[in-house]
């Protein structure tokens, strides 16, 4: 009965959903580089506006994005505080032992905070609007040039797609095994580290054996359905570029141009 979502895909049909996964993946990756073009308040404001616009274009609840940022909030604060207390330069406001608060530190702490948050937000935009399988397809497309170096991109893609497909199955199996062992008096919440590590054996061994059996069955089924490596295989699942990809492309180019114009040279 338990259904889990791999990644954090949330079904929807806003504009962002219509962009080809390849486009989304590529722009997300490039965004992480482009964000380093920002180096003054104006450029940071520009990129923040662009990023928030993308967030709102998903038409998803703000909470979804907060859930994306939340697990990393500690890390964001920690890195920002490092900047705040250790960076020197400009005016010094406060000093104690090895800690310094300077004007440079303040500004950089703020920039680090924004940079981090934006990167998480924009990746969340991609992961909540793109199915994991589509991300895998997009990755296959991005990795295609590696074929020249004899990297078996097709096989890697098949492996990823099968792995994704079996995550819910394995999750169900894990839950079932845990419940079965609980019914035999196993306790997974009590005791110290050693006791807990020991308690996990009754889950791991059956899970490992189950996975092995699944793998053997699956390879038998694949072979009997005519799978013999990648040569000459065609593809059922194809991705299609559309006008929405042009929109996202122009949006991104506009962002880069604005950043290039307004940054400090």
């Amino acid at each position: 009965m338990s259904k889990i979502i791999v990644g954090r895909y949330i079904p929807g049909n806003s504009l962002v959903y219509k962009i080809d996964p390849r486009g989304k993946l590529l722009i997300t990756i490039l965004f992480i580089f482009v964000i380093f073009l920002a180096n003054n308040p104006i450029t940071y404001a520009i990129i923040t506006v662009f990023c928030l616009a993308a967030v709102f274009a998903t038409r998803l609840k703000v909470r979804v994005f907060w859930d994306g940022v939340k697990p990393l909030i500690g890390l964001i604060f920690f890195t920002s505080l490092l900047q705040l207390f250790f960076m020197t330069g400009g005016k010094t406001y406060w000093q104690w032992w090895i800690f310094t608060i300077s004007s440079y530190g303040l500004v950089n702490a703020a920039y680090t905070f924004i940079r981090f948050t934006l990167i998480i937000l924009i990746s969340t935009v991609m992961t909540v609007t793109t199915m994991p399988l589509e991300i895998a397809d997009a990755m296959e497309w991005l990795l295609k040039p590696l074929k020249i170096f004899k990297v078996p991109v097709d096989k890697i893609a098949l492996v990823i797609s099968i792995a994704l497909r079996f995550v819910p199955t394995l999750f169900d199996e894990t839950l079932k095994i845990m419940n079965a062992q609980r019914s035999r008096g196993a306790d997974f919440n009590d005791g110290g580290l050693v006791k807990r590590a020991k308690a996990i054996t009754p889950i791991l061994v059956p899970l490992f054996i189950h996975s092995l059996e699944t793998a053997i069955d699956l390879s038998t089924a694949m072979e009997s359905r005519g799978y013999r490596g990648s040569s000459g295989r065609t593809k059922y699942r194809v991705l299609n570029w559309s006008k929405y990809d042009l929109i996202s492309l122009f949006y991104f180019i506009a962002l880069v141009l604005l950043l290039l114009i307004f940054r400090n040279h």
């Binding site: 009965m1 338990s2 949330i10 419940n179 079965a180 062992q181 019914s183 035999r184 008096g185 054996t201």
Partner: protein, 285 residues
Amino acid sequence: MSIKFEKVDYIYSPGTTMEKKGLDNVSFELADNKFIALIGHTGSGKSTLMQHFNALLKPSKGSIDIAGYHITPQTSNKNLKELRKRVSLVFQFPEAQLFENTVLEDIEFGPKNFGATEKEAKNKALKWLSKVGLSEEIATKSPFELSGGQMRRVAIAGVMVNEPQVLCLDEPAAGLDPRSRKEMMKLFLNYQKAGHTVILVTHNMDDVAEFADDVLVMEHGQLIKHDKPENIFKDKNWLEKHYLMEPTPSRFASELANYNFTQNPLTLDQLVDGIKENLKGEFDE
């Protein structure tokens, strides 16, 4: 010490987009030491209900009285060990729970968790190994060397060894060959006769007719009927409406156009008796 469910609701992933009602206002009371059948289609809430028997799931609303425990949404996850000793579940394809180096050690896992000494655990394990119809020779083997049918028996021994007051089994005979199937059903029936409650989750109406004292029928998370098998199988229109099958003997009986059965034959023996009754005049001459 009967089992009592009072207005039990269970909600999966509450507060998310995937929120789903697993149990919907389920109330019933079961007498002690009976053979109970729990039936319904895949996804009807049978498994969800089953997991409430030993608090693997706790009600979102309502309360459960079972084996001296009172379970409410507030019940803490701690101190449930004793409950799980008194109420045990055998899941579908239970051979998936085997993990120890030897068959014996695997069966000892439960007793040891519940505080038995090495010696007690070993004695109990050996006793149940033979009760499920396996020879002592395999005690020292790895459970993973055994055939599928033997693994199933080891897994069932690993639960029954705790000798729970309430034993709940989800399709324990699925995939077994007919002989093993019969042996397993006999084992559960004897366990019930020895003074325990047995709850069997099943799709097999012939088994329901043959073994059950009392039947719970689930649909869409609701308990739609709770009655004796003869009453459950009485109303053919009702069965049809809920896509439930009649036991094979009743189906056969209803197709014998010119026969009159004083009572709907649920088992093969009842059917044979009924046919004999009808033909009485014929064979007395």
